[in-house]
């Protein structure tokens, strides 16, 4: 007889539930706990958009789990009326891997910050992407350590003056999107707290993707790094500074959609649309092109080393491809062993190969 465990029953139960979902509203996903972030913190918008997106997932509340590490953002699970675990610094991806691998019926979200994921947890973060565990990771990036009160983070730009870098940081920052692509992430996207509509759209896209979805969210820390992303979030400068990516659409930006990004071979160029270049000359975004996704992820320094071309910062899905998921592979192997290796006979196992009798 094959081993039927309690978890197998949960998986069956889960499938039955999908056809019989209550009509949730976003309020159903708010827990009874007071939300305690600084007034004006970008985390509030993100929480709101996650709660707004949840009813649209088509998943029962009981099958959703939020797992976080340590930091301001990592308090997030307390505010969601789902299952949740606020764990230890940087390790949420590892905890989520164990949970999702053993419980493929659950929808697992990881909430993390730039400190949590890009320093103490950078190993787990990259391994998660490499394995392509089918979970969704929301990386709240505010380029600073908030909870420990204002030290620079691995995402902080060079030269940033903080409590721990009074003479300016000399660390080269991580580029989270390039790092994710480098780790073979199958879904890499960016959003910002100050564009809630687009943010919600990206949360839903993250959920839809099978595999690790890495959504970086620019999040303003009003106390220790206020305005870090103002160029992109301020409605006045946004059209010049941000470009929204859409699969199959030319990469056009600017107040009047008067600018575009063109590829000269593999070298991107910003061009004015008009006499010399038309929309037909512009790079058409292809989510499945890894090489071009790498180029986009490098629209990072602003401008690079203070000189050269100034590229708009891309928002949206840089890259999304289907690739086998780790958790699926594990489940398949267990199933294959159950199907092909005959009865799971504990007595045969205890007996082993060679035995002898003592009379």
């Amino acid at each position: 007889m094959a081993v039927e465990t309690l978890i197998d029953k949960f998986v069956q139960l889960h499938e039955a539930d999908l056809t019989n979902l209550p009509a949730y509203s976003s309020k159903d996903f708010a827990s009874d706990q007071d939300v305690r972030w600084c007034p004006g913190c970008g985390d509030y918008t993100i929480l709101k958009q996650v709660q707004n997106a949840m009813p649209e997932l088509g998943i029962a509340k009981k099958d959703i789990v939020f797992i976080s590490g340590i930091g301001c953002s990592s308090r997030f699970p307390y505010y969601m009326d789902t299952f949740g675990m606020h764990s230890i610094h940087g390790r949420a991806p590892a905890i989520a891997t164990g949970l999702k691998t053993s419980r493929p019926d659950l929808t697992v979200w990881i909430i993390t910050g730039d400190g949590d994921s890009l320093s103490i947890g950078a190993n787990h973060f990259t391994q998660l992407l490499r394995r392509n565990v089918n979970v969704n990771l929301l990386l709240f990036n505010n380029e600073i350590y908030g909870l420990t009160k204002g030290q620079y983070s691995p995402a902080s730009p060079k030269g940033l003056v903080t409590k721990s870098t009074p003479y300016g940081s000399i660390d080269n920052p991580f580029n989270p999107l390039a790092l994710s692509l480098g780790a073979d992430g199958s879904f890499v996207a960016r959003a910002m707290d100050r564009d809630p509509k687009h943010l919600k759209e990206m949360i839903l896209r993250s959920h839809k993707h099978k595999g690790t979805s890495m959504l970086e969210i620019y999040q303003n820390c009003i106390v220790f790094n206020d305005g870090a992303f103002e160029l992109f979030t301020d409605k006045k400068t946004r059209p010049q500074e941000a470009i929204y990516l859409e699969h199959g659409q030319p990469m056009v930006f600017g107040k009047e959609n008067d600018k575009g990004v063109r590829l000269n071979g593999l070298v991107p160029e910003v061009v004015e649309l008009g006499d010399s270049f038309s929309k037909d000359d512009i790079w058409v975004h292809d989510e499945q092109d890894a090489t071009k996704a790498h180029l986009l992820s490098r629209f990072f320094e602003h401008p690079p080393n203070g000189e050269g071309v100034q590229f708009p910062r891309p928002f949206g899905v840089l890259y999304a491809v289907d690739r086998p998921c780790y958790d699926e592979g594990v489940v398949e192997q267990v199933q294959h062993a159950k199907d092909t290796q005959g009865e799971a006979d504990l007595d045969a196992l205890l007996r082993g190969g060679e035995t002898w009798q003592v009379k």
Partner: protein, 620 residues
């Protein structure tokens, strides 16, 4: 010269050679054959930490010691009766472990100029020729040459011929100790199923060794060791790590839960991963994580989801897991942490044994972080204690540390394995679903009389809740910084640990009276040596008893009265005095330690000596 048949009660053999000579395999095959004959036995594999230490040198020597007998055997033996040496370095490294008058079987091909140089014998000195071995019986055989001759009609490359030389020695020892070759022949056919010519060569060489023993008239006597007088039943031979794996699989079946092992390779714990990875059809998942922390964290994730979360490592890896283990204490989720100890500190001596992680297990986390510690006393006992570790962890919703060590893990002994139906079911209580408000709000940290909260797993309707490492408010489980609540929760976690004593057996006396002059109190792999010594001393008229702890945190509930029934408590350990400190501080009794920290287990005679000295110095 004619060969005499000799009947012996016990024999100790040591196989030693270069780490590429296959001594571990030779030893294991001899052990299996010996086990199948019904002898009792214990083994001690010892190997260098490097895959291939420099060939022919003393640090590159790998050895395997085995004691077997027709009486009860509890240790691999102090000194050996026969020492097999494949080269001069092996002789140099092991001669001190040979009994006076013992037999040396030396492969002369390993004593050429080059090998003698590598073993750092002085120029021109060959121990086989200079009379320094006169007090031993030396049997010199050019194994390399004889193997070549045995394989003369096979067209095998030199390398493959050379590789089978351990089989020659094994065959010869089979003849010498009256053992059949069948089980080894079966093994070789199976192992080299895809390379029949290699199987054939090895079998040929094995038989050549056997018949060489029979015809060459080089042995004065042939030794017979009769079947041991073991408890009736069906037996198999098993190592500690193998038994541990089976204990975990059995516990998974008996609790009807999937088991998830999150781990990172480390000596001497890796065999647990290798073993469990094979048993997927039992609903077992193994995850080779990116590091020790991820390994432990993934197991916690699996536990949160309702699996038996297990993580395995050795001391240095356990150090890394510390923070995550603390999280599991706070979450009050089941977690089984396997520590197969090795010699430390830091990386220490990876392939050598020590039981010096007891303090780490009991205290090695930040904050007041009580958890449970159990320890097997022998290879076969790993089965029962692994089963127990899972049972207690599930029944009490708390991490359990299972403390084995390299000596137990790699050593083997006959095991009268149980029937699955004789194993107790493990009852697990999950929080049930809540379908309407009438069912009441779910309180994650509500407890039963044992102070245990219920396992509330995702996927259960109506009990959505959040846990985490921050201090929990009593009952609700919400985050709380309230001073009185922290005091209360600290007390609860301690009491919850202490109440486990109600759910474990009372401490028994292994041997001797329930009260008297001296109690030798041990734990872990010192069992065999202590038992043997106490047996001898009792025979010699001493009032001495032996108790062996398998449940260390909490202690069994009768510990205090038991300890106070003896005038003197002696605690031998392979560390610098860890259990003895716990005993002294917990029960305020002047227990005295006997400590050894050499990466090797106690020998029977040295331990006896130490105990006698202690008794003389401080009369009971």
């Amino acid at each position: 010269m004619s060969t005499q048949d000799q009947v012996r009660e016990d024999v100790t053999i040591r196989f030693a050679g270069d780490s590429g000579d296959g001594m571990q395999l030779t030893g294991s095959l001899f052990t299996n054959t010996t086990a199948l004959l019904g002898n009792d036995l214990r083994t001690l594999p010892e190997f260098p930490a490097e895959i291939r230490a420099p060939q022919g040198t003393v640090p590159g020597v790998s050895s395997f010691q085995l004691q077997f007998g027709s009486r009860q055997i509890l240790t691999p033996g102090d000194e050996c009766d026969a020492l097999v040496v494949m080269n001069s370095a092996a002789l140099k490294a092991n001669l001190s472990l040979l009994k006076k008058g013992g037999t040396i079987i030396a492969n002369t091909a390993g004593f050429d100029k080059k090998n003698l140089n590598l073993a750092k014998y002085p120029e021109g000195v060959n121990p086989l020729e200079d009379g320094s071995l006169d007090k031993y019986e030396v049997i010199e055989i050019d194994v390399t040459k004889l193997v070549k001759e045995a394989l003369a009609d096979m067209n095998l490359p030199y390398k493959d011929q050379e590789r089978s030389k351990n089989m020659f020695v094994l065959g010869m020892l089979y003849w010498m100790y009256n053992r059949p070759m069948d089980s080894t022949i079966d093994f070789l056919n199976q192992k080299f199923g895809k390379k029949p010519e290699i199987a054939e060569a090895n079998i040929k060489v094995l038989k050549a060794g056997y018949y060489y023993g029979e015809t060459a008239e080089i042995f004065n006597s042939r030794v017979t060791v009769k079947q041991a007088d073991l408890e009736p039943g069906t037996y198999r031979n098993i190592t500690g790590n193998e038994a541990l794996v089976l204990g975990l699989v059995a516990a998974a079946r008996k609790s009807n839960l999937p088991l998830f092992l999150g781990t990172y390779p480390i000596t001497p714990a890796s065999d647990v991963l290798h073993g469990l990875a094979k048993h997927k059809k039992f609903g077992i998942t193994t995850f080779q994580a990116e590091d020790e922390i991820a390994a432990c964290a993934s197991a916690i994730g699996a536990s949160f989801g309702g699996s038996i979360g297990v993580t395995s490592s050795s001391g240095p890896g356990i150090a890394l897991k510390g923070e995550a283990i603390g999280l599991a204490v706070m979450l009050e989720l089941p977690l089984v942490v396997l520590n197969i100890q090795r010699a430390g500190p830091s990386t220490g001596m990876p392939t050598k044994t020590e039981q010096a992680d007891l303090m780490q297990a009991v205290y090695g986390r930040n904050g007041e972080s009580p958890l449970l510690v159990v320890a097997p006393k022998s290879p076969a006992d790993c089965f029962e204690m692994a089963f127990e570790a899972v049972r207690i962890s599930l029944e009490h919703m708390t991490p359990v540390i299972f403390l084995s060590d390299g000596y137990i893990a790699n050593g083997s002994e006959p095991w009268k394995f149980p029937n699955s139906e004789d194993l107790k079911d493990i009852k697990v209580e999950f929080e049930g679903p809540r379908h309407s408000e009438e069912d009441g709000a779910f309180m994650p940290y509500k407890r039963d009389a044992r102070l245990v909260r219920k396992w509330a797993i995702p996927g259960t309707q109506g009990i959505e809740h959040r846990v985490g490492g921050l201090e929990k408010e009593d009952v609700t489980g919400n985050v709380s910084y309230d001073p009185d609540n922290h005091q209360k929760m600290t007390d609860i976690r301690r009491d919850k640990r202490d109440l486990v004593a109600q759910n474990i057996p009372e401490q028994d006396i292994d041997q001797g009276n329930e009260s008297g002059d001296i109690l030798v109190l041990g734990w872990g792999g010192t069992y065999g040596a202590i038992r043997t010594v106490v047996h001898q001393l009792r025979k010699e008229g001493m009032d001495i008893s032996h108790a062996h702890l398998r449940y260390i945190n909490p202690f069994p509930k009768n510990m205090e009265s038991l300890l106070k029934s003896f005038k003197k408590i002696i605690v031998p350990e392979i560390n610098d005095g860890q259990l003895v400190r716990l005993i002294r501080s917990e029960f305020l009794i002047p227990a005295v330690p006997i400590n050894k920290v050499k990466g090797r287990p106690f020998g029977v005679s040295e331990l006896k000596q130490e105990i006698l000295q202690l008794v003389e110095k401080q009369p009971a």
